[in-house]
């Protein structure tokens, strides 16, 4: 994240009105805090308390139903030897590594295609959005059928090309790739974002580029992508945060299997907390996951100075 220098306002006001300069800055602070007040109230009341509570809980043996018992660092020690949780972290990381780039690029491609003038453009766009709004159980049943090793759509399609499809959800190697493929059905959401972003790119930039003799590919690379980069940044970060918390699909469809091949971190956390009633230990696991997500997010934030371009930063 780059920060805006305040020399812009400062320089204008230095001339002749030193008094205004100081109160101008403080007025800005006040306005900022006022704008953030709603969020801050919500955060303090609803979230901060729960987060602190869950962090404290990690030092207890707590099932939320009977009185909690202080056990110091025992939960943390246990976590170090928890091979199942470690495995779930591996599963989750592999999933995120595959699903996020694929999701971001595919939804961008779809958005670009649907940005072109086509007949019934609205209908196509709505259709791509359908899986994002359709109920989970319908999607689960459909995917279950599509991935069926013998009669499913995917393997039947592969058979046309003479390829023997894998056993997908019944195979330890292919179950996680199946979930990656399933995640691609959610491109409709990001597609919408990119469409909004594409719409706002000033057309005179394209005109200027055309006049300079740029090809379409070059215009894409030098105009579209940079102008879209704030949105890309958003979808990447949100994609990482969401991918690391994959839960519902493995829970409903494979129960984390086969043989824990699709045991995601949040699924394991859910089991430990809601099935085994060990909320203290689950808190440890959740905070570890939190740290990992935070780390990845910070990495992306750091890197953003290189590739994310904000119009508002034109002036330094």
């Amino acid at each position: 994240m780059t920060s805006r220098s305040d020399s812009m306002f400062g320089s204008k006001r230095k001339v002749g009105a030193a008094r205004l300069h100081v109160s101008g800055k403080h007025r800005e602070w006040l306005l900022a805090y006022a704008c953030l007040s709603l969020w801050f109230i919500g955060f303090m009341i609803l979230q901060a308390g729960a987060m602190v509570y869950s962090f404290l809980l990690s030092f207890f043996h707590a099932d939320m139903l009977t009185p909690a018992r202080f056990i110091g660092l025992a939960n943390y020690q246990r976590m170090l030897g928890d091979s199942l949780f470690l495995k779930s972290l591996g599963v989750t990381s592999r999933y995120a590594l595959a699903a996020v780039p694929l999701g971001v690029t595919l939804s961008l491609l779809v958005a670009l295609m649907l940005n072109e003038k086509l007949p019934a453009q609205g209908v196509w766009r709505t259709l791509f959005y359908v899986p994002s709004v359709v109920s989970g159980i319908a999607v689960a049943i459909l995917w279950g059928w599509m991935f069926n090793p013998s009669v499913g759509l995917i393997n039947s399609g592969l058979a046309v090309f003479g390829i023997q499809g894998p056993r997908w959800l019944a195979s330890e190697q292919w179950a996680l790739p199946a979930f990656v493929i399933m995640s691609l059905w959610g491109v409709g959401g990001n597609m919408l974002l990119y469409l909004a972003g594409l719409q706002s790119i000033p057309t005179d930039l394209y005109e200027a580029a055309k006049i300079d003799g740029a090809t379409a590919a070059s215009r894409f690379w030098h105009v579209t992508l940079p102008m879209l980069s704030p949105t890309l940044f958003f979808t990447t970060v949100m994609g990482i945060i969401a991918a690391f918390q994959l839960f519902t699909e493995p829970y409903v469809m494979t129960g984390g299997g086969p043989n824990n091949a699709t045991l995601t971190a949040v699924l394991q956390i859910y089991r430990v907390s809601f099935e085994q009633f060990r909320f203290g230990y689950a808190s440890v696991l959740a905070w570890i996951l939190f740290a990992i997500i935070l780390l990845c997010t910070l990495l992306v934030f750091r890197s953003s100075a290189l590739w994310v371009y904000y119009e508002a930063e034109l002036r330094k």
């Binding site: 920060s3 305040d6 800055k25 800005e28 900022a32 805090y33 704008c35 953030l36 969020w39 919500g42 009341i45 979230q47 729960a50 987060m51 869950s54 295609m113 649907l114 072109e116 003038k117 086509l118 609205g122 209908v123 196509w124 766009r125 709505t126 259709l127 791509f128 359908v130 899986p131 709004v133 359709v134 109920s135 159980i137 319908a138 059928w145 069926n148 919408l192 974002l193 469409l195 909004a196 972003g197 719409q199 706002s200 000033p202 057309t203 005179d204 005109e207 090809t215 958003f234 949100m238 971190a265 956390i269 859910y270 907390s273 689950a282 996951l289 935070l294 904000y310 119009e311 508002a312």
Partner: protein
């Protein structure tokens, strides 16, 4: 410098990418190819809806046939009527609509304000606070669910509708982040011009940022609408009284541990999904590459 521009001149065309096919036949060919690609993808994405519509009209003995029967020989339209009458759906829709609209309004107001602060204002702790906004999204909800529930119980808000949309009025991290990104793509010249004209900083927000962010605000509205419309988990935990159920939760009344009336559930799910799709269709018409001028409004 204001200019009159011809929209047609700047509509993107697939032939832009293949200069060799700039001639008329080539343009048509490429357009057709693109259309074919899009149609193929859309067909694939349409499958869940098609399956739902198809299942809604099936007799139970057809529901599980493998491979699925896409067009049942005797489409039971009465499933829609029967399932509608089985439960007080008008009441459920009233609940869903009020909760969703109140939530969307709340998110738009609270998140745009916060995003404005992060995007345009400079103040101590800005980066830290922004990270805090995001941090909330990074902690799995299972951990905080019960403490928050206990809090709501103590506040006496359990089994009330506000428990479902109150949080929307207190900022939504996803929307704040999204809007911040978008606000930061708006050039500062416009802000300056407005300030020179005497607008306060907040005036800049109201008169420059918000109007120019209509696409992003529309996206926030659509996302929040879709999310609240379909959200069943929060109502599941917080609502006990059947009369307060939103549709998303009520649909789960068609299943329990021993049986699931898939055809009724799908019939009502189809009905339930249609408003969201219509809303999306109507809203996306505003996302057409149009004329955007960077110059100052004259």
């Amino acid at each position: 410098m204001p200019r009159t521009l011809d929209a047609k001149h700047f509509q993107a065309h697939p032939s832009d990418w293949f200069p060799r096919y700039q001639h008329r036949a080539g343009r048509i060919l490429l357009r057709v190819l693109l259309l074919a690609l899009v149609a193929a993808g859309a067909f694939l994405f349409l499958l869940p809806l098609a399956w739902m519509v198809s299942t809604a009209g099936k007799a139970p003995s057809l529901t599980w046939k493998v491979p699925p029967v896409w067009i049942p020989p005797d489409y039971k339209w009465q499933n829609f009527v029967e399932s509608w009458n089985m439960l007080p759906f008008p009441r459920f829709y009233y609940n869903t609509i009020t909760i969703t609209l109140l939530s969307v309004a709340g998110v738009l107001v609270s998140s745009s304000l916060a995003a404005f602060a992060f995007a345009r204002l400079k103040f101590p702790g800005r980066d830290m606070l922004f990270l805090l906004v995001l941090a909330v999204l990074m902690l799995p909800g299972q951990i905080t669910m019960i403490p928050v529930y206990i809090l709501y119980t103590k506040l006496g808000l359990v089994n009330t509708h506000p428990s479902l949309y109150l949080q929307s009025w207190l900022g939504d991290a996803f929307s704040i982040f999204m809007l911040r990104q978008f606000f930061m793509t708006i050039p500062l010249d416009l802000d300056d011009a407005a300030r020179i004209d005497g607008a306060s900083r907040f005036g800049v927000f109201l008169r420059i940022i918000v109007p120019l962010s209509k696409p992003a605000l529309a996206v926030v509205a659509i996302f929040q609408f879709t999310f609240m419309w379909n959200n069943f988990f929060r109502p599941l935990i917080y609502i006990n009284d059947l009369r307060l159920f939103p549709v998303a939760l009520a649909l789960r009344l068609f299943q329990d541990e021993t049986r699931i009336d898939l055809q009724y559930m799908m019939a009502q799910t189809v009905v339930f999904v249609v408003p969201v799709l219509i809303l999306f269709f109507v809203a996306q018409r505003f996302f057409i590459q149009g004329i955007v001028i960077t110059g100052v409004k004259g």
